[in-house]
């Protein structure tokens, strides 16, 4: 079981100037959809963007989180997709 608020704040602390949204993919709170919006992703390949987040989650993936589906966006792309509120 993952505390979504705590995890959101954890990622936002590790990656300054990011906005994180976490969703529950299975209703069991251990398969998570994680959306991260940050300009730290600018000019980086998708694999490198995902790796930045996977590095942050590394230890927690070994314990309470079983699977994540990541989506990473720059602010500009998030706005274009209507995901920047």
């Amino acid at each position: 079981m993952v505390d979504f608020t705590e995890l959101k704040e954890f990622i936002e602390t590790q990656l300054p100037d990011s906005r994180v949204k976490i969703s529950d993919l299975t209703g069991t709170r251990d398969h998570l959809g994680i959306l991260v919006i940050s300009d730290a992703f600018k000019d980086k390949m998708l694999i490198d963007q995902h790796q930045m987040i996977m590095d942050i989650l590394k230890e927690r993936l070994k314990s309470e989180i079983h699977a994540v589906q990541l989506k990473t966006l720059t602010v500009e792309k998030a706005k274009a997709q209507g995901l920047w509120e």
Binding site: L46, I47, H50, Q51, Q69
Partner: protein, 131 residues
């Protein structure tokens, strides 16, 4: 499928996309350093896929999805079945700092797993990356 018209080989009107596709490889020499073994595999083709199962019979839905995408793009690629070798399977995760399979490499560099490959395929970035 809707892209038959874009298939230049579809001259007979067959709905089958020609199987260019993947070729599963095995190692000739399994005695060396594990990272050298991994690099030998990855460098055996421009497009290399560590997957579960073989391209003709994937053992995991995510591997099947990436195989389907590569076949759709009519790419030639080589694959290695990580279910066949536990040492390679664990060492690749460390080598790439990426915890799951499949893993697609282009010219020696990790492009991504299923999520990334699917997203890049849908945006058109995959075709230009693998060009």
């Amino acid at each position: 499928m809707s892209d038959n018209n874009q298939n230049p080989f579809n001259i007979l009107g067959s709905d089958k996309v020609p199987q260019q596709g993947g070729q599963a490889v095995t190692e000739e020499n399994t005695s060396g350093d594990i990272n050298q073994r991994i690099e030998a595999l990855i460098s055996s083709a421009d497009i290399f896929l560590f997957m579960k199962g073989q391209p003709e019979m994937p053992q995991c839905g995510f591997s099947a999805n990436v195989v389907a995408i590569l076949n759709r793009l009519q790419k030639n690629y080589k694959t290695f079945d990580v279910l066949s070798d536990w040492d390679i399977r664990e060492a690749v995760k460390v080598y790439s700092n990426w915890p799951t399979f499949p893993q697609l490499y282009y010219k020696g560099k990790l492009v991504g797993g299923n999520d990334i490959i699917t997203e890049m395929y849908e945006s058109g970035d995959l075709e230009s990356t693998l060009a």
